[in-house]
């Protein structure tokens, strides 16, 4: 049976892992390669590197971080933040990323999704959607949650999938960094609207939250950052918990499974 994936997100700024609350107030959490190595040992299923302050000049710095992480781990690696052009994506993939995550750029120019899917395959193209509850709907925001768009999350996810995206990385801005649980309503709406995997993000605070998003939220994968970074909980413990709850997960050698 296909396992539900647990994904660790490394929010990177200037080569260091940071993590914000509601996209602001960053606090430092460590060296990306070092964290990736620890997560690999604990049985993480995938790593996402999010360049939170990506600028044009930082492409090289980003390549350096990707390369350092890809050297440490032999797991799927996704890179996002500041991937605006085909060239940005090519540089990230060349450095060792298996997938790139598009956000603002995909909304501005949705044909970029198709261009990259044709060049690298849909499996390499993740469309990241940052959504916020607004007047009974889920509004899509861009520019790290700063700018509202007229798009709805479900509608945009559907279009992204039709244009060739291989996965949706769905972040609830309301829940991000709050540890109050994933937005299961948002996640379930998007996950049932598209036929590609949906990664839930934003709000992970307890093991129970993961169980909820995999059942009520119908997520295919769940992503978290701070819950893992500060050693509050290990990936291994989380997976054991989910396994006991009957949720299919990949158990590592240290967790009693194959």
């Amino acid at each position: 049976m296909l396992s539900k994936r647990i994904i660790a997100c490394l929010d990177v700024r200037d080569g260091r892992v940071v993590k914000g609350i509601n996209f602001e107030g960053l606090r430092e959490a460590g060296d990306p390669a070092e964290l990736a190595r620890r997560y690999n040992v604990e049985g993480i299923d995938e790593i996402v590197i999010l360049d939170v302050t990506a600028t044009l000049e930082s492409r090289q710095a980003r390549a350096h971080t990707i390369s350092a992480v890809a050297h440490e781990i032999f797991l799927p690696l996704c890179v996002g933040g500041g991937i605006r052009t085909e060239g940005d994506a090519a540089a990230a993939i060349e450095a060792g990323a298996d997938k790139v995550s598009l956000n603002t750029a995909a909304l501005q120019d949705p044909s970029l999704i198709t261009t990259l899917a044709n060049r690298y395959g849909s499996q390499a193209v993740v469309v990241a959607i940052d959504a916020k509850r607004q007047d009974g709907r889920f509004a899509v925001y861009v520019r790290s949650g700063q700018a509202e768009t007229p798009r709805g999350a479900v509608d945009w996810a559907r279009e992204a999938a039709e244009r060739g995206a291989g996965e949706i990385l769905l972040t609830s801005i309301d829940r991000d960094g709050t540890k109050s649980g994933f937005d299961c309503v948002l996640t379930a709406e998007v996950s049932t609207a598209v036929n590609i995997p949906v990664i839930a993000s934003g709000g992970a605070g307890s093991f129970e939250h993961f169980a909820e998003v995999f059942t009520a939220g119908r997520a295919d994968a769940a992503l978290a950052a701070s819950i893992f970074h500060f050693n509050e909980h290990s990936v291994e413990e989380l997976k054991r918990f989910l396994h006991l709850r009957g949720i299919p997960v990949r158990l590592g050698p240290g967790t009693g499974g194959p």
Binding site: L2, H71, L75, E94, Y120, G121, E162
Partner: protein
């Protein structure tokens, strides 16, 4: 030396890193004639089956010649599919045909018994089955028989998949994975092996599988 065949199907960075990590000597041949010195051949690939059209007659002859010299051949992902006769993803493109059978779209098996659903396009939900395609993530291996490829790998080990098409279960099948229906997660027929999953992205288990394959590549 292992020939890592680059026919432009996606990105080889991950495969290169994994091979370097396990200490495999490899190079990427620029033309088919270079395969004459290959002790083993890897055909990787992600993406669409039609990209394998780049493996034209001279490449196929060179790969067949390497096989005739007893050089082990490993196909990864689309590379495994290419070992078969073809794929419905690109019906005009012939596979190597080393293994009998045709690859088909995941979830298509049950579709064929149902009325056509013309309004369905890629990326929209299939309410009948709820089978998301591509199949992305970690899924378990069930071994059909003992093989060299999976020496020391426990039954049920999970590996990383990302694909929309899959090969049928055939006599050459070494490992089965089920997603909607059972498919060939790996094949092994003499010196021809293939894996539908990505060993270079499957953590320690994946590296072990690559090492297992490597250990049957003659050295020097």
């Amino acid at each position: 030396m292992i020939a890592l065949v680059d026919y432009g199907a996606g990105n080889l960075t991950s495969v290169r890193k994994a091979l370097a990590h396990i200490g495999a000597g490899f190079w990427t041949p620029v033309e088919p004639a270079e395969l004459a010195r290959a002790r083993g051949v890897i055909v990787p690939g992600v993406g669409h089956f039609d990209s394998t059209a780049a493996l034209d007659a001279p490449w196929r002859e060179a790969i067949d010649a390497a096989r005739a010299r007893s050089a082990p051949l490993l196909g990864i992902c689309v590379g495994l599919q290419w070992l078969f006769e073809g794929s419905t993803e690109a019906p005009d493109v012939a596979g190597l045909g080393a293994i009998r059978g045709t690859c088909t779209r995941l979830g298509a098996g049950s579709d064929s018994r149902l009325p056509a659903c013309p309004e369905r396009s890629r990326g929209t939900p299939d309410s009948r089955q709820d089978l998301k395609v591509p199949h992305v993530g970690w899924n378990s291996l069930s071994f059909s028989r003992p093989t060299r490829l999976f020496e020391g790998i426990p039954e049920g080990t999970q590996v990383y998949f990302t694909h929309s098409y899959a090969a049928p279960v055939v006599p050459a099948t070494a490992a089965i994975t089920t997603y909607g229906a059972p498919f060939s997660a790996a094949v092994e027929d003499g010196l021809v092996s293939g894996v539908q999953f990505h060993p270079e992205k499957s953590g320690d288990a994946g590296l072990r599988i690559l090492r297992n394959w490597m250990s049957h590549v003659p050295s020097v």
